[in-house]
Subunit: 214 residues, 2 copies
């Protein structure tokens, strides 16, 4: 008798991620895995974007954090269905966590799912969650060298949001250096400049998201 | 015959870390494991601090990054012995990497060793490097909720540097909220406010470091 040995945890994750992707597609739900450093502004971006969605487009949010439900409480105020995953120390979300969280979401009522990963510019990149695509948030306060220093995550992004443009004049962030680094790592990714604090750039982000609905 | 099974990778790391700690103590070298998010300002803090050290205190720096030698090149300009570790994707430094890097450093010429970990507010906390203690860098641009959201790292710090105080007025960072969160997670840690960009707070940081030399 043949014995199947599941030796590769990443492969096991990818198989489950594929099932989730198929399932979400059947439900006509487009999902974005949102990744970035702690404090890059992932939650603030969702807080501003979700209320701008047309009435016909309902969103749900899965929040991933080591601890606390702070972010889910912030997001719940937008009216979106919100589910908090506490990883209890794990540095990234994985497909099994998403599989469990989906049970708590009424997928027939939504067309968009935002999955906010644990704040981490390294580990989340290796774990598929069944997402349609990936959005990476990087703030000007973090510096313009991030794409080249954290290539594993930046090379997997479909969209990079350069957030906190309102702080740019107070830092030594050079937009050309950032964009050049990004083009080197991932020339196909889109880039948008936003300020979640002040609201600039959100019309373009809204267009980007709504153009990609099923 | 007894078979020793080394089942716990963290335990293996800790044993090597203990050896490194003993070895550095013999050499009268005090070492700090510096951890924080990408872009929190770890390198900038060292760039400003090292030139302020008295002539009698020589420092060396080990720089940990996924990729590039950007940070080591910046630090080398301070005159400190500098060694870059590229982890090639790994999300944290470990004791074996430090053991290898120490071969490249003339320990008889230094009394201080700064180990700048990979920018990551999660994974580095679990890996002892043989350090004397830990310094955590958190910038005001990251928000005031970080200690409670990333408790595993903040609870291991001897000193927390709240960096980018120059940006504080342009953000919604509330110092009381940060300090309260920190006191809850790790009441024994020292906290200092600094601005690596403008230089404020560095006299106090210099005192903190020089008071802890062997």
């Amino acid at each position: 008798m043949k014995v199947n040995v599941m030796s590769d945890i990443l492969k096991a994750n990818d198989l489950l991620a594929r099932d989730i992707k198929d399932f979400l597609k059947q439900k006509a739900v487009v999902s974005w895995n949102i990744m970035g450093s702690p404090g890059s502004g992932k939650t603030s971006i969702l807080e501003r974007l979700i209320p701008m969605l047309p009435d016909t487009v309902k969103a749900a949010v899965i929040e991933g954090d080591l601890a606390t439900s702070n972010d889910a409480e912030r997001i719940a105020k937008t009216g979106a269905q919100t589910t908090q995953i506490n990883t209890n120390g794990a540095c990234h979300l994985d497909a099994a966590m998403i599989r469990a969280a989906l049970d708590a979401i009424d997928l027939d009522k939504i067309s968009l799912l935002f999955i906010e990963n644990v704040g981490n510019l390294v580990c989340p990149s290796g774990y598929k969650l069944g997402e349609t695509g990936r959005i990476i948030v990087s703030s000007t306060a973090e510096g313009d060298d991030k794409p080249e220093k954290y290539p594993s995550i930046f090379k997997t992004g479909d969209l990079v949001l350069i957030n906190k443009t309102d702080l740019m004049d107070h830092t030594n962030f050079n937009m050309d250096v950032f964009k050049r680094g990004m083009r080197k790592i991932n020339p196909g990714a889109d880039m948008l400049l936003v300020s979640a604090a002040h609201g600039s750039g959100f019309e373009k982000l809204l267009d980007w998201v709504t153009q990609r609905l099923h």
